[in-house]
Amino acid sequence: MSSLITRVKRNQIAQLIAKGKRLDGRGLTDIREIKVEQGIIERAEGSARVLLGRTEVMVGTKIETGEPFSDTPNEGVLTVNAELVPLASSTFEPGPPDENSIELARIVDRGIRESKAIDVEKLCIEPGKKVFVVFVDVYVLNHDGNFIDASALAAVAALLNTKMPNYEVKEGEVKMKSGYVPLPMKRHPITVTFAKINDKLIVDPWLEEEQVMDARFSMAIDDDGNICAIQKGGSGYFTPQMVLEAAKIAKEKTEEIRKKLKW
């Protein structure tokens, strides 16, 4: 099926939204059904699969050891990578990460990093020399809109599922012990994405709404209701009033999701 949206559909969506409704029956600020599964990939140190409506994202984490960054010698390292896999959509092409996958990776990274979700100081093995490096790899498997929120959710779920090798430092030497310990997590950031269609804001746009929207922006909120990351995308704009209004809605929505997931 062509990914082009017809003028008829475009008008349909706009007219409904003007009345406060959406094509799939949701209200303007309703989020689709969320399903989270953890631990599906045994070879990964941690994994999760999230279904947000029909958008599907899988995240796998791997733990390795490496050198810390020079300006943070006592902290572990977080690296997030994202792939918009060609099988997820007729619009994703094979090849090296393009600006959309790079942006996705950096949005997911920011939410985790700025909220201090991982207790990175507990990932320090030998200050300045050896730390744990956490690789988070985001794989978008089916694109039915808003893979940003689905990816962010899956990334945190995968981290919560992650086990790191157990070790002890004896006589200045690092010795690996048997067994695993959970990755030390302090916070659970949740991201909410808004789209603007004809001057109305909707939450969690699905694919056809994304094809019609002027612009989107995403907010990551931590457990205390603080904002820790924002990213506006798309070639349209938002008024300052809309942004501040959205922040309040985002806080409410993340509280709802947090309760549901028990994070």
């Binding site: 600006e99 700025e114 820790c228 990351a229 942004v243």
Partner: protein, 244 residues
């Protein structure tokens, strides 16, 4: 290697460079600085030194990138290897790829793209020296360069950052504040349409602090907008002589 300062705001409430929390850095904007580009601008903001050039509208190569109903904008944000303390590799980093995208998206709403279908504009931004909030200074310069190229626009786009350092909301973050502060909120704005065309944030802010930061950055934007207009007039008023 420089020492990490202990406090970013001193007892008198002044920042590392002596500014008050709501003060902008010194800004200089020059228009038409490159003879080959169709439009160009140079900005200095604090120690930031950034050059923006625009080529177009012109035919797109490869042709299949062209759109049948509107102009295409391509944007390349790039930092010179010598622009930062530790030499940066000239190859485009992931950060530069992301910034190229968000900068392009901040400029698009200002241009009448539908006037010249099947053509393209290339916006090139080179950061010669970086000192925090480079994406904001880049947008401010790029928008002026687009106007200089004679490309029809709805309005200029202006950008300014706000953030939080040592529990104080401040305007126009410099490098140390960007790196060591508690939050950074870059904002790009089109004043006539009351439109925010770029908005990002990293750090931690309560909803109230976020509102304060956004409002502060918009005030900064309005001041810089006047400077953009001033710079454009300064170039063209020389070509216009008095009526006899």
């Amino acid at each position: 290697m420089s020492q990490k300062p202990e406090k970013l705001i001193d007892k008198k409430g002044l920042r590392l460079d002596g500014r008050k929390p709501d003060e902008l850095r010194k800004i200089k904007i020059e228009v038409g600085v490159l003879s080959n580009a169709d439009g160009s601008a140079y900005i200095e903001q604090g120690k930031n030194k950034i050059l923006a050039a625009v080529y177009g509208p012109r035919e797109l190569h490869p042709k299949h990138l062209a759109l049948a109903d509107r102009m295409v904008i391509r944007c390349r944000y790039h930092m010179a290897p010598f622009s930062v303390q530790e030499r940066k590799s000239p190859a485009p980093s992931r950060r530069e790829v992301e910034l190229s995208k968000v900068i392009r998206e901040s400029l698009e709403p200002s241009i009448f793209l539908e006037y010249y279908p099947r053509t393209g504009i290339d916006v090139f931004i080179e950061v010669l020296q970086a000192d925090g909030s480079t994406r904001c200074a880049s947008i401010t310069a790029a928008s002026v360069a687009i106007a200089d190229a004679g490309i029809p626009m709805r309005d200029l786009v202006v950008a300014c950052s706000a953030g939080k350092v040592d529990d104080t909301i401040v305007l126009d973050l410099m490098d140390e504040e960007d790196k060591l502060g508690m939050a950074d909120v870059p904002v790009a704005f089109m004043p006539n349409a009351n439109a925010i065309t770029l908005l990002q944030m990293d750090g931690t802010l309560s909803l109230e602090e976020f509102e304060t930061a956004v409002n502060l950055s918009l005030e900064g934007c309005k001041k810089i907008y006047a400077m953009q207009k001033e710079a454009l007039r300064a170039k063209y008023v020389l070509l216009k002589e008095d009526e006899e």
